[in-house]
Symmetry: C2
Subunit: 115 residues, 2 copies
DNA sequence: TTCGAAGTTCGTAAAACATCGAACAAGCTA
DNA sequence: TAGCTTGTTCGATGTTTTACGAACTTCGAA
């Protein structure tokens, strides 16, 4: 479990980001992270097997949408809001607003832990 | 070749639109149409077979991104800018700006016809 | 050092997608 | 009517995506 590679802003591509955000589970994950707070992997709740959740988080990470930090055996995920905004201005907000208005990604949430 | 069905604005889904806009050919088509002018099918130039182009135009149409109008054997395509804007505010512009800055979809263009 | 917890990776299977050429349907035109 | 033009649809193929469980790796705890 080595530290995963994250793309620099200039390495992000529109197509990869659009692809990453065209799956309801991943949009749900992004919504959960949209308050800017870093979340523990285990805190994330989605109706898929953990290997599948790992896969989705990888797609988001590889596209540059999220950043994953390792700490011991745990890892923490956060949205790369500023990087996305500088690279693709307005895109993330437009998607988040649309997802909110449309109730996309509600199947994803947080486990009830002491926040 | 009956008139194709187009989704009403309330039938459009974010996921379908994001999916439609996560392919470079389709982003290129949207860019070509982004000046708001209606274009003839035959005017559209993309490095794929015509059956494939037809497929891409269908994905865009089914997602609600474009409208296709039939006239005799010809058909004409246009961007549904206002519908998209009302349904997903800011999304199309963000994608178009990013695509422009990033040179996404340049393989798509117009045939040199008397405009 | 043995065990459990946390994620990732692997192997696999099913579905979706992109692509092509061929066949087709519908409307002009000769 | 016969033929041409314009796009769509069909059938096939290879790739990508989503998904699962099992196996694996790391680290922390007992």
């Amino acid at each position: 479990m080595k530290q995963a590679r994250h793309p620099e802003p200039h390495e992000m591509t529109l197509i990869a980001v659009m692809g990453a955000l065209s799956d309801p589970i991943r949009v749900g994950l992004v919504r959960v992270l949209s308050d800017g707070r870093e979340r523990g992997w285990g805190q994330l709740r989605a109706p898929v097997a953990k290997s599948t959740l790992s896969h989705h988080l990888r797609i988001l990470r590889d596209a540059g949408v999220t950043r994953t930090r390792q700490e011991g055996t745990r890892c923490y995920v956060e949205l790369r809001r500023a990087d996305l905004e500088s690279r693709f201005p307005g895109l993330l907000d437009a998607v988040l607003n649309a997802a909110h208005a449309d109730d996309v990604g509600l199947q994803v949430g947080l486990n009830d832990t002491a926040s």
